[in-house]
């Protein structure tokens, strides 16, 4: 994240980028020495022999001296050196803290400490199942590829007028505004809007402002390049692919050599997979192994796409209805297919009719069938609109406050801009992390619930249904 940010602003503002990198290196060194100190201190406190303790204490003093001289001396030298700018330095210093905060939030979301301590190496195989995620992502990519060309929902959101926010951020990107907001300029606003309209469609910008990402910045630098123009027009698709690649890469990297005592990445992946397995296992029961790969794939894919939007310069693919609708349609088709296969054609129609078993049920048949069909059709709509609305709304909230910060900075109201405005947008970014996780969880859990409703239940399990289910195994 930090490297991406530095690389992002390097071509336009080299001084700011170097300051940011310096701040990050300083913070990293601070953490490194702090960790050494704490380790030595605890070791000295619990060590048995006095000689060893004194040796450890000497090393402790040595490390403390190095830390003070390097970190604080470095900080002093950096503030004296005029080539560095103040705000990027502060930003670089605080980035690891923000990352730590995110980690703490993620921990708090999980259900208590005992889940963290518990390890089950036997499930290492279940998350190493890479073939199904890959196939699913390819399928999603193919569907998404069809969606932007049809261009069904974009004209609804692309509005003709540009807001004051986007226009001002575009023109007046001072250095500190660029770094403090992690964004150079809202390029989708006034400036490039004419080009987009000339190209046949008013893409993206306008009434709903977007933060720029590296594709829009590339498009600003190379407006004539065909590949970049295509990427700019289909940026959701590009970021969806990127999320898939990131997710596959992390999974491959963590599960490359699964061991009995897992390393950090393997442990994290196993913990997440196991928590989802627990939750879904409570609902699906013995059907879990069959449907779990799909559920966990949807969960991780949506989670990656949501969380990638927090990184400055990237965009959540799920903040467009194209992507969420494609995901919801895949889920819907999978659920219907599961219902047809498990219940059989007659059982499926019986399920759609509300399983009438008495006279009243058969009398109500003409009413129940349309109601149930409508209920089935409402599932993808509600799934896609929920995910899209949450992520998009959160993004818009952050854009509005970042735009307000940039406005204040442009009017040289730094005292007003940075503490309250930036604090508010940072708070909303924490909220965005929470929303991303919760929405991915809800998407996966609702897919589980829909699958569960399509499975033959134990309460009114009939002979033929049980038989059909048994033969399908």
């Amino acid at each position: 994240m930090a490297l991406a940010l530095t690389a992002l602003i390097l071509p336009a503002h080299p001084g700011a980028a170097i300051s940011l990198a310096a701040g990050q290196i300083l913070a990293a060194m601070n953490f490194f020495f702090l960790e050494k100190l704490v380790k030595l201190f605890t070791e000295a406190a619990i060590s048995k022999s006095p000689a060893e303790a004194s040796l450890l204490r000497a090393r402790l003093l040595l490390f403390a001296g190095i830390k003070v001289s390097v970190v604080y001396g470095g900080a002093f030298a950096l503030t004296r050196w005029n080539a560095l700018e103040l705000w990027p330095l502060v930003g670089g210093l605080s980035l690891p803290l923000v990352a730590l905060f995110f980690k703490a939030i993620m921990l708090a979301v999980s259900s208590g400490p005992e889940n963290l301590l518990r390890r089950a190496p036997s499930t290492a195989g279940s998350s190493g199942n890479l073939a199904k995620p890959a196939a699913f992502i390819l399928l999603a990519g193919a569907l998404l590829f069809a969606a932007p060309s049809a261009n069904a929902s974009k004209p609804l959101i692309a509005l003709p007028h540009a807001t004051a926010d986007s226009a001002t951020t575009h023109s007046g990107a001072s250095d500190s505004a660029a770094i403090a907001t992690g964004a150079a300029h809202t390029a989708d606003g006034g400036g490039t809007h004419g080009e987009g309209a000339k190209g046949g469609e008013a893409h993206g910008g306008g009434g709903v402002a977007h933060l720029p990402n590296w594709i829009t910045i590339l498009n600003d630098f190379f407006p004539k390049n065909g590949v970049i123009h295509w990427m700019h027009e289909n940026e959701y698709l590009v970021f969806a692919w990127l999320a898939g690649v990131v997710f596959l890469g992390i999974t491959w990297f963590g599960m490359r050599k699964p061991t009995m005592v897992p390393g950090p990445i393997q442990n994290a992946i196993e913990w997440m997979v196991e928590s989802m397995e627990d939750v879904c296992g409570g609902m699906l029961g013995k059907h879990l192994p069959k449907y779990f790969p799909y559920i966990i794939t949807v969960f991780f894919y949506v989670l990656t796409m949501n969380l990638i939007g927090i990184i400055p310069g990237f965009k959540s693919s799920t903040s467009t209805l194209d992507v969420t609708l494609a995901l919801a349609l895949i889920t819907f088709l999978y659920v219907q297919f599961t219902g047809l296969r498990n219940l059989g054609p007659l059982g499926y129609i019986d399920h759609l009719a509300g399983s009438p078993r008495d006279v009243v049920g058969f009398i109500m048949l003409p009413v129940m069938i349309p109601v149930h069909i409508l209920g089935e059709l409402a599932k993808p709509v509600s799934l896609s609109c929920r995910l899209f609305g949450n992520i998009f709304g959160e993004d818009t909230l952050i854009v509005v406050f970042v735009g307000a910060t940039a406005l204040c900075l442009k009017a040289s109201l730094v005292a007003l801009a940075v503490p309250p405005m930036l604090g508010i947008s940072a708070l909303f970014m924490l909220l965005q992390a929470l929303t991303s996780i919760v929405q991915a969880l809800i998407f996966a859990l609702l897919a589980t619930v829909y699958l569960y409703m399509m499975l033959p239940h134990e309460e009114h399990a009939h002979g033929n249904q049980e038989h059909a289910h048994g033969s399908s195994h």
């Binding site: 009434g207 609305g389 919760v438």
Partner: protein, 77 residues
């Protein structure tokens, strides 16, 4: 009072009304879940999952209003 003015007045009010409903729903859900968790801490993970799903359903109603607002916002000229 023309179409645009009606829309400009109605959209924020609509979102506010939807948010009131969702807020009441989430409040009841949270109250029930917290009470149940306090009485039976053993079933805490199950309750949390059910609570989050319920939050999702209740929250979705406001989100629908929100999405509708974004779709209709362009008609305010």
């Amino acid at each position: 009072m023309d179409f645009a003015a009606t829309l400009g007045l109605g959209l924020p009010i609509g979102i506010g009304l939807a948010a009131i409903g969702s807020g009441i729903g989430i409040g009841f859900l949270g109250q029930g879940a917290m009470g149940a968790m306090g009485r039976q801490p053993d079933v805490l993970p199950k309750l949390q999952v059910a609570m989050i799903i319920g939050f999702g359903f209740a929250e979705a109603l406001t989100i629908y209003a929100f999405v509708t607002m974004f779709f209709l916002q362009g008609k305010i000229q």
